[in-house]
């Protein structure tokens, strides 16, 4: 393509990045602003950070969300990895069908998922509880793990496994010593992805959390509805900082961001066999 065309494309990219980042940069700036309501004049202060860590209810909610998402991610990681491993031994046609079914929780709107799970839970007698919330979030993040591990299986050389087996290793040993190291980046990426999706999933927690329990997204929602909150700015700034660290870790693990999304990788997984 001509140079002028390419330059236009780059300008578009920068405009999009500006659109994406101006609100984020503004909120970091406002977290140090003494004048409340995100308004002017701008005076530098760190009061909101000390408020955040002394009187605010945000850290407690944050901690609860973190613990909860960690559990969900761990479960999703275990089940998802095994699922992807099992999928490799299906006929390609069947694997493609199962892959599609596994992606249903991504395709169905979260609102409908939450409502239907709430109905089932109420019917069974569990109602809104930690178990319901756990299972609901688990089924929503599970597809991400399967997708990411599938993609890894696709890139991986499977002959060492056959060799190990031929040389007399038990199936458990083959999985632990040969297969797992090969798919580990996918497993880790799946775990992190589940952690993040679960940590941020407002809808499912809004519907399934036990009455009176507030996770971070729910607390943030209530706070936004009641108006401007300066300590929320401080928390946003901290969360964005953590996100930057996670994203850098993610790319260090050798994960191209494109492979995270998209059913395309799932389709390829079916095709490639």
């Amino acid at each position: 393509m001509s140079r002028r065309f390419n330059r236009t494309m780059m300008v578009c990219l920068w405009i999009v990045l500006a659109f994406m980042y101006i609100p984020i940069i503004a909120i970091i700036g406002m977290s140090f602003n003494g004048t409340p309501y995100g308004m002017f004049p701008y005076t530098f202060t760190t009061t909101w950070y000390s408020t955040l860590f002394s009187t605010s209810n945000l850290p407690a909610a944050c901690w609860l969300s973190l613990k909860f998402s960690f559990l969900v991610a761990l479960a999703a990681l275990l089940i998802g990895t095994l699922t992807s491993f099992g999928l490799q031994y299906y006929s390609p046609k069947l694997a493609r069908k199962l892959n599609f079914l596994l992606q249903l929780p991504i395709i169905i709107p979260w609102l409908v998922t939450s409502i239907s799970i709430l109905l089932l839970a109420t019917f069974v007698g569990a109602g809104r509880s930690y178990v319901t919330m756990f299972l609901g979030n688990l089924i929503v993040v599970l597809p991400y793990v399967v997708l990411l591990v599938n993609a890894r299986f696709l890139e991986m050389d499977r002959t060492p496994e056959a060799a190990a087996k031929l040389l007399g290793a038990s199936s458990a040993r083959v999985f632990w010593d040969v297969t797992l190291p090969g798919i580990l980046p996918g497993v880790m990426a799946g775990g992190i992805m589940s952690l993040i999706v679960c940590f941020n999933n407002f809808c499912l927690q809004y519907y399934l959390a036990p009455v009176g329990v507030n996770t971070l997204p729910m607390t943030v929602f209530t706070r936004i509805r009641s108006g401007y909150q300066a300590d929320l700015n401080a928390l946003s700034a901290i969360i964005i900082l953590i996100a930057v660290i996670i994203v850098i870790l993610f790319s260090r693990m050798g994960y191209s961001a494109g492979s995270l999304f998209g059913m395309s990788s799932g389709k390829k997984a079916g095709k490639g066999e």
């Binding site: 393509m1 390419n6 494309m9 780059m10 578009c12 990219l13 999009v16 990045l17 659109f19 994406m20 609100p23 984020i24 503004a26 909120i27 406002m30 995100g38 308004m39 095994l82 099992g86 299906y90 069947l94 929780p105 709107p109 979260w110 609102l111 998922t113 409502i115 239907s116 799970i117 709430l118 109905l119 089932l120 299972l135 688990l138 089924i139 599970l142 993040i196 941020n200 407002f202 519907y207 997204p217 943030v220 929602f221 936004i224 401007y228 929320l232 946003s236 969360i239 996100a243 930057v244 994203v247 850098i248 993610f250 961001a257 494109g258 995270l260 999304f261 998209g262 059913m263 395309s264």
Partner: protein, 293 residues
């Protein structure tokens, strides 16, 4: 059945490892959807601790007769299509720039920058955007300093669309990027050298080859946007309701779960139909153009 037999002949016990998630899928996706269907025909609210409710067609007739529901469904689909279209138009050049213009070693840096917002909470993104566009916020202050007086668009439908685009744009860029990156530069060059103009090259080469990414992008943007209720509730103002809001209110305010179940069912069916249609149309277009992906 014949296929079944063939499968058994090379059955590998390792395939049994899929059983746990198959079970979860059955209990947490399929069974709840069936419940949704069943509850559509029930007339009471079991949340209120009433005894086993009876059967009724009342919910269905009420749904069919409800002008508000159909109006909001139409509006949500319109917003969904609009937001998806805006995302596609905005994301194509950016995805192209990252995939083809940026030097390969900087590509992952740009991708990191694009996915970063995805890793922060969506509610925080909404909050950040609300702060920016509120009246008396940075944007209006900056504009009034330039002697341009505008009213803040916060609490209008425009704000809902803006925030939805803001939230879902990264998904579209990522999906398109993963497809565009796979296009061989030589094919594009060949097309241009052989005399096709840019529009033709785009229609015959770039577009067909980006269809898989485009489809997953549409799926990841359109479905959640149509089902959204948080954004319209927070920034849409009094006229901001979408179909998600009316479904949500059946559970959070009116406690009419049978009616809410019917509305969810209809929403799900409509979404499935539209997605099937889009997928069919795009694949058809792709075949007719002659792209083989």
């Amino acid at each position: 059945m014949g296929e079944n037999k063939k499968k058994r002949s090379r059955f590998n016990p390792n395939s049994l490892w899929t059983l746990p998630s198959a079970g979860l899928l059955l209990c947490l996706t399929i069974a709840p959807l069936i419940m949704l269907l069943i509850f559509s025909f029930m007339n009471r609210n079991i949340f209120a601790g009433q005894v086993w409710p009876g059967w009724t067609m009342e919910n269905i007739t009420r749904m069919i007769g409800s002008g508000t529901f159909w109006k909001l469904l139409g509006k949500s689909l319109f917003v969904g299509l609009g937001v998806t279209a805006i995302c596609i138009v905005v994301a194509y050049p950016s995805a192209w720039a990252i995939a083809k213009v940026v030097k390969p070693r900087y590509r992952s840096v740009f991708m990191m920058v694009v996915i970063l917002p995805f890793f922060t909470s969506q509610l925080l993104l909404i909050y950040a955007m609300m702060n920016l566009i509120q009246s008396g916020g940075i944007l209006t202050t900056a504009l009034s300093a330039l002697h341009i007086n505008v009213k803040s668009i916060l609490y209008t439908n425009g704000a809902t669309v803006l925030i939805l685009v803001y939230e879902y744009l990264p998904y579209m860029i990522l999906c398109l990027y993963s497809s565009l990156e796979g296009i061989n530069d030589n094919i594009v060059h060949a097309s241009l050298i052989l005399g096709a103009n840019k529009a033709k090259t785009f229609a015959n080469i770039v577009f067909p080859m980006s269809v898989p990414g485009l489809l997953s992008g549409i799926l990841l943007v359109f479905v959640p946007v149509v089902g959204s209720f948080v954004e319209p509730g927070l920034v849409g103002g009094s006229n901001g309701m979408m179909v998600g809001s009316i479904i949500n209110s059946q559970y959070k305010e009116n406690l009419n779960m049978g009616y809410g179940a019917v509305l969810s069912c209809v929403l799900l069916i409509v979404l499935c139909l539209i997605m099937a249609l889009i997928s069919f149309a795009t694949k058809h277009a792709q075949k007719r153009i002659g792209g083989d992906v």
